[in-house]
């Protein structure tokens, strides 16, 4: 099977879905680029990170729609278009920009179906970039997906590899509900085997990326990569870590998570969000409320601290959950404790 990175897998998915359904349109800032430029080039960007490259050449600018910098109008327009017969895939360049268009998500798109008594279909996907680690500072590095998971009416997807990205995005575009699709900006070049043809991965179905029986680690997006690495390392010591990747956090596959915790009795929740009311807290709460009897040790959260993301890369490295902190958390919940990782945090 061919190897593809996440960027290319997403790009291919957009093409496949646009070929399949003429109602699918792509909307965003510089998803093509070059309009009004002096060179007259056909495509000057294809998205900031090239994710939408080549779409305009194949589908034309009527379906691949550049916009001014005006996120409320972008997201609202996508929502209104979804209500009336298109299936828009809108791009919110960085999830940090949610603040300038949040009403259109929180009070409009997410609530249409409910407010309208079930009589609306709202097939809109909002692709956006999350995550720290690239030195982009406090306003371009946030995660924030916990806030979206809190909002009834939207689905929230966080793929952790190229295969899942393709399958989940296909599902998202074909779904009749609003979906926020979170792409970790530090992962676009991560590659794995990805089939050329279309396939779907159902929402609300977690993946167990490492089976194990000693401790359950639930992780998302780029944190899955780290959790897998720690699991592999600890396997060498005979510690059997089970890594669960929920893939979608709204809906959430509580059965798989609880099943794993029931088996292992121990939970480590890894999450790049700020800690308070985070997704990690939700996971711990889920386990404590629903698998109380199975728990054999206090659950442990590994999250970003309650601080903005600092610009300095030397501080940012301590902001993002690290291999060391995940490992320490696992050891803690297993009863041991290494002093090393506590140093800083």
């Amino acid at each position: 099977m061919p190897q593809k990175n996440i960027r290319d897998a997403i790009n291919e998915t957009l093409k496949l879905e646009m070929r399949r359904d003429p109602r699918v349109v792509v909307i965003g800032e510089d998803v093509v680029g070059g309009l009004g430029g002096s060179s007259g080039v056909e495509e000057a960007a294809g998205g900031t990170f090239g994710v939408t490259a080549g779409l305009a050449a194949e589908f034309g600018r009527r379906r691949v729609i550049d916009t001014p910098i005006t996120e409320s109008a972008i997201i609202g327009m996508a929502g209104g278009a979804a209500l009336t017969g298109l299936r828009p895939v809108a791009e919110l360049m960085f999830i940090d920009f949610i603040g300038v268009c949040f009403d259109q998500i929180l009070n409009q798109i997410a609530k249409f179906r409910y407010m309208f008594g079930g009589k609306a279909r709202v097939p809109v996907v909002i692709r956006t970039m999350t995550g720290a680690g690239l030195g982009t500072g406090p306003q371009h590095s946030q995660s924030l997906y916990n806030m979206l998971a809190n909002v009834p009416g939207i689905k929230v997807v966080l793929p952790s590899n190229a295969y899942d990205a393709k399958g989940l995005l296909t599902t998202a575009i074909r779904d009749d509900d609003p979906v926020i699709f979170c792409e970790n900006k530090a992962m676009y070049l991560d590659a794995c085997e990805v089939p050329d043809e279309s396939y779907t991965i159902p929402f609300g179905q977690a993946a167990i990326t490492r089976p194990g029986s000693d401790v359950t680690v639930v992780a998302l997006s780029r944190m899955v990569t780290l959790a897998n690495q720690v699991a592999d390392k600890l396997a060498g010591e005979g510690i059997r870590v089970e890594v669960v990747d929920p893939r979608t956090i709204s809906p959430l596959d509580t059965a798989t998570i609880l099943g794993s915790v029931q088996k292992t009795g121990r939970l480590v929740a890894v999450d790049e969000c700020n800690p308070v009311c985070s997704f990690a807290s939700e996971l711990v709460s889920l386990a404590a409320c629903e698998a109380y009897d199975a728990l054999q040790a206090a659950p442990v959260k590994v999250t970003a601290p309650h601080t903005p993301v600092p610009a300095a890369p030397d501080l940012e490295q301590y902001y993002v959950p690290s291999l060391a902190r995940i490992e320490e958390a696992i050891r803690n919940t297993l009863g041991g404790s290494t002093a090393s990782a506590r140093k800083v945090v």
């Binding site: 349109v25 009527r62 379906r63 729609i65 916009t67 001014p68 005006t70 409320s72 109008a73 972008i74 997201i75 609202g76 327009m77 996508a78 929502g79 209104g80 278009a81 979804a82 209500l83 009336t84 017969g85 298109l86 828009p88 009403d103 259109q104 009070n107 409009q108 249409f112 179906r113 409910y114 407010m115 309208f116 008594g117 079930g118 009589k119 609306a120 279909r121 709202v122 009834p152 009416g153 689905k155 779904d175 009749d176 509900d177 609300g204 809906p251």
Partner: protein
């Protein structure tokens, strides 16, 4: 311009329906039978109807918190509306939306909206759909004078000009935003001049004059359907009642509304010209009045008597698939 008498009769029917509906709602709110906030449209009937007479069910409107008139003008079912305002089973939104969030997609009504400035971004989305599908559809957003100051509204106008969307921005300048007057809250700005600054045709008309709204709208719709892009219309018509029912209106001078009723009631204004110039019969208008009163009486009875939504419905309709 000449006007089809059948269209004019229909327009009268819709304006009268709004008036009867709202006056009845006012009495019902005073009697305490209606849940939630209610914002009445009396005095502005000619705006909604002057606009909607140009629209088909396949054209879309975005509305506001003051949405009853827009719904009726766009052809939503009166009983469905009342059931919704009373939050009953069978309401347009099964009681989950209420007065401030009524929608009827089959009639091209994208929803009342309790977020000021919430609807225009959605409405341009409907215009985008029409443009992409190439079906000559248009979309229109009703926007209050107060809402005209919201960033989302400016963004929507701008996006519409950049993409030449088949879109109409229908500003309802009713003199007030809540308890503040437009002469103050618009600052040095003027709704029409601001809209013009975005590079679209922008006109100001008397919103109590059906014909003025209808004529301005004719050109805006033509432009939109012909792919020439968006237009702005500012229709001026004071509201007759408070911001919401219960508002003491101390910001208005005594007698202001009495004066309005005398000089600027859109219904007699319409009737005078329609009967004089275009041959509508006073008789048939009175019949319509009578008929509508009955329809509304009956619908209110139905709404009041209808069953409330059942508790399990709290949990449904959040998603299409779970």
């Amino acid at each position: 311009m000449s006007y089809d008498p059948i269209m004019l009769l229909d327009a009268y029917r819709r304006m009268r329906a709004i008036r009867e509906f709202e006056e009845r709602m006012r009495r019902e709110v005073q009697a305490g039978t209606v849940p939630g906030f209610v914002h009445l449209y009396c005095g502005e009937e000619a705006i909604a109807v002057g606009a909607c007479m140009h629209l088909q069910d396949t054209d879309y409107i975005g509305s506001t918190h003051r949405g009853h008139g827009h719904c009726i003008a766009k052809g939503c079912d009166i009983e469905g509306l009342l059931l919704e305002i009373y939050c009953k089973q069978g309401g347009l939104c099964n009681g989950k939306g209420g007065s401030m969030h009524m929608a009827d997609l089959n009639k091209g009504m994208l929803g009342a909206n309790a977020i000021v400035g919430g609807a225009p971004p959605i409405a341009i989305g409907a215009a985008l759909t029409a443009q992409v599908l190439g079906n000559r559809g248009v979309a229109l957003a009703f926007i209050g004078d107060g809402a005209s100051n919201q960033g989302t509204v400016f963004e929507s106008m701008h996006m519409a000009t950049v993409h030449k969307l088949p879109m109409i921005f229908m500003y309802e300048n009713n003199g007030y935003a809540e308890f503040s007057g437009a002469s103050w809250h618009l600052g040095g700005g003027d709704i029409t001049r601001r809209a013009g600054g975005f590079g679209m045709p922008a006109v100001k008309v008397d919103g109590t004059d059906f014909f003025a709204v209808y004529d301005a709208m004719a050109e805006a719709v033509r432009r939109a359907r012909d792919g020439e892009g968006p237009s702005s219309i500012e229709a001026v018509a004071m509201r007759w009642y408070g911001h919401f029912e219960g508002d003491m209106q101390t910001y208005r001078k005594k007698g202001e509304v009495d004066e309005l009723r005398k000089t600027s009631d859109p219904l007699p204004k319409f009737e005078e010209r329609a009967t004089r110039e275009f041959g509508l019969g006073v008789e048939e208008l009175r019949e319509i009045d009578e008929e509508l009163r009955e329809i509304i009486d009956e619908a209110v009875d139905v709404a009041k008597a209808a069953p409330k939504p059942l508790a399990p419905e709290l949990y449904t309709d959040v998603y299409g698939s779970y």
